[in-house]
């Protein structure tokens, strides 16, 4: 019981293939054992029956022979009496067969080993009682078959004891052969099980691969339609699921994209109108001017938010395509910083970076650097320096600031959407929308690089955002 329970606990941990293999092996073993047992039993019975019937027939025949040779038991002429020992000697028996003759109360045996004592008392009594009988018994560890026939004419009986040792040996070698056959068929069962499991699992592997492909963003992946009646429903329902999923994701992405698109038109009107008003700014009263400036700033922010949302929805829909070209990374970083709102930040460029190329979408990467500078301005008291370093086959662009730094617990979450970090967010009001860093992360991922935040290397407080991009061989 304990074994079974531990086995059942182990089984679910094994793979389906292992379990099918084990099931096939166990099935083959059970079948082989049943067949072997039946074969052995039948053979044994058959052989025994044969032995018994031949021994019985011979015993009757020999008993009749003995009865003919021995005259009726009379005490009249002892001299003329035939010696039962001679009669016994004249009886034909095969080797391994021991005749025993009883005349009156006297027992004559050809072999001293099988005399009166050797025969079971039950057999002796039955036969002496006038009934022929047959019995198997153990003698010195070997099975013997004894057949007894009463001979009335001499008030005696004739027994024959046949050794079944030879039969046992035969059965033993048969059972060894059967055991070997059982082992072989168990192995064959396991092999067939393994093969069958592989065949059964092959389409499942295809579905697994497809699921993996979908999970990694290749939403258009489908499994091949199967012609197998058992597998077709599985493949069909998988494909139905994939279609539904793709539609759902596309619908969500389209929604975000549509919303952003719809926002562009009013934004366009606002952007143009605010410019007209700004042209009249000098003629406006003080209060109107202040309101106009607020509006202008927020229209800018609104525009950025819509642009970011649209960009994010493109990532979600998997339709973000970079316009990649080989660019000199030092020039790109300098240009990006110069065209940002924070153009005076010192840029520290490794001298051995001159001419190092990266594969990049110039405008998007510059947007990434601008986002990091914006982030430093909003939450880090402004960027203190931008650093560009070569590192083996990669380049690292770091933006450092003078703020409080980013707590270790927030360093991952800060790159999630609409997350400004638990502590940093409220320090400087709620400026910015929390999409900037998530866009940074998505863009850098699409560039085949990575981005993280760490402590400043000079030991001062402040955050250090690092972008690592693979460098082109130069």
């Amino acid at each position: 019981m304990r074994l079974l329970r531990s086995l059942s606990r182990l089984l679910p941990r094994l793979g389906l293939r292992a379990r099918i293999t084990i099931a096939f092996a166990v099935g083959a073993l059970i079948m082989a054992v049943v067949l072997a047992a039946a074969t052995l039993g039948l053979t044994r019975q058959n052989l025994l029956d044969q032995r018994e019937s031949s021994a019985t027939a011979r015993t009757y025949q020999n008993a009749a022979t003995a009865a003919l040779q021995l005259p009726e038991q009379t005490d009249a002429d002892p001299a003329s009496a035939v010696d039962p020992t001679d009669v016994l000697a004249s009886i034909q028996t095969p080797t391994g067969s021991n005749p025993v003759l009883v005349v009156g109360d006297r027992w004559y045996a050809r072999s001293p080993e099988f005399g009166e004592e050797a025969l079971p008392a039950e057999l002796r009594d039955t036969v002496r009682g006038g009934q022929p009988a047959l019995m198997r018994f153990d003698h010195d560890g070997a099975t013997q078959l004894a057949v007894g026939v009463p001979i009335e004419s001499i008030d005696g009986a004739y027994f024959e004891v046949v050794s079944l040792g030879e039969l046992e040996e035969t059965l033993e070698s048969i059972s060894i052969s059967l055991l070997a056959a059982a082992l072989l068929s168990t192995l064959a069962g396991a092999a067939i099980g393994w093969w069958a499991a592989r065949r059964v699992l092959r389409p499942l592997r295809g579905i697994g691969d497809a699921a993996h492909a979908i999970a990694t963003g290749r939403l258009e992946t489908r499994v091949e339609a199967s012609t197998d009646a058992d597998l077709a429903p599985l493949a069909d329902s998988f494909n139905e699921m994939a279609v539904a999923l793709e539609e759902r994701i596309q619908r969500d992405a389209r929604f975000a994209s549509n919303v952003s698109h719809e926002l562009r038109s009013p934004l366009m009107t606002l952007a143009a109108s605010i410019e007209v008003m700004q042209n009249q700014r000098d003629d406006m009263p003080e209060r109107a001017r202040a309101a106009l400036d607020l509006m202008a700033a927020d229209i800018d922010r609104f525009q950025q938010l819509v642009a970011d949302l649209l960009e994010i929805s493109r990532f979600d829909a998997g339709v973000m395509y970079l316009d990649l070209e080989e660019v000199r990374v030092d020039e790109l970083v300098l240009q990006a910083v110069q065209s940002s709102t924070d153009a005076d930040v010192p840029v520290d460029i490794d001298s051995d970076l001159a001419g190092v190329l990266v594969k990049a979408d110039k405008r998007r990467l510059s947007r990434v650097i601008a986002n990091l500078l914006d982030n430093a301005a909003k939450y880090g008291d402004g960027a203190t320096r931008v650093e560009l370093r070569r590192r083996d086959d990669a380049v690292r662009i770091a933006v450092e600031d003078d703020g409080p730094g980013v707590p270790v617990d927030d360093r991952e979450a800060i790159f999630h959407r609409f997350n400004r970090g638990s502590s940093a967010g409220h320090r400087r009001g709620i400026d910015g929308v929390g999409l900037g860093l998530s866009l940074v992360a998505e863009h850098i991922r699409l560039h085949g690089g990575s981005v993280w935040v760490e402590d400043r290397t000079d030991g001062e407080a402040g955050a250090r955002f690092v972008i690592e991009l693979p460098a082109e061989a130069s």
């Binding site: 698109h261 562009r264 038109s265 009013p266 934004l267 366009m268 009107t269 606002l270 952007a271 143009a272 109108s273 410019e275 007209v276 042209n279 525009q303 649209l310 493109r314 973000m320 395509y321 316009d323 070209e325 080989e326 020039e331 240009q335 065209s339 110039k362 405008r363 510059s366």
Partner: protein
């Protein structure tokens, strides 16, 4: 800027059209409006404007068709307004004949800068070399004339300026950035596709076989050059 330069603005959203008109008028341009492609083509046929601004998302005849139709009539600078910069729309619009593009929402001041860049005259060549020859190709910058095998070919203003720019230093390789700056007035972050599509358009006109250009040659990874 030539005072009284007329811009035809094709946009179906009335509020946008009005606001853009107000802002462009503040910049000193004269603005005509059209709310459909058909109307735009009618207006242009009545009186060709100096610059055309087309939103490609138009009901009826779309912006690409308007662009192609105007191109057949005239070589005026065309600026198209697209929804996004990363779609095929940009390339399709440029191939339909647009000279530059902007994505919505844009600042009208930025549009003005773009238009000013497109209206710049081709750089005057050095005195004396007013007649440039590249094999069967003949360029007369001051007259705005290009001939292939003696036959005059018709280039848009921007295509012509691109060709003259390349011709200013025969055999020299011009990077996309340099061409973007000199022809379109863009800085480092200009869209290189502007150069690529214009080079493609230029080749269909100046090359005997545009698929195997002999004059306007690509130098892989570096840019373009003009040769005989």
């Amino acid at each position: 800027m030539i005072v009284g330069t007329r811009i035809l603005s094709v946009e179906d959203d009335e509020r946008i059209r009005t606001a853009v008109k107000l802002a462009l008028e503040d910049e000193g341009w004269a603005v005509e409006e059209a709310d459909t492609g058909e109307e735009a083509l009618n207006a242009f046929q009545r009186q060709p404007s100096d610059v055309v601004l087309i939103d490609i998302m138009l009901p009826g005849i779309d912006g690409f068709d308007v662009c192609r139709a105007i191109r057949r009539m005239s070589d005026v600078p065309i600026v198209m307004v697209t929804a996004r910069a990363d779609t095929h729309d940009v390339v399709a619009g440029l191939e339909a004949g647009a000279d530059d593009y902007l994505t919505k929402p844009f600042a009208p001041k930025e549009l003005s800068a773009r238009i000013r860049a497109l209206l710049r005259r081709a750089r005057s060549s050095d005195s004396g070399s007013a007649h440039l020859r590249f094999g069967d190709l003949e360029i007369i910058p001051d007259e705005g004339v290009v001939r292939r095998s003696g036959e005059e070919i018709h280039l848009t203003k921007t295509e012509f300026r691109l060709l003259v720019e390349l011709a200013s230093s025969p055999g020299r390789v011009f990077s996309r950035e340099t061409l973007l700056e000199r022809v379109w007035g863009y800085g480092y972050f200009g869209d290189g596709r502007l150069v690529d599509v214009h080079v493609r358009r230029l080749r269909t006109k100046v090359e005997a076989d545009a698929a195997n250009p002999r004059h306007v040659v690509t130098v892989r990874g570096l840019g373009y050059k003009l040769q005989a």
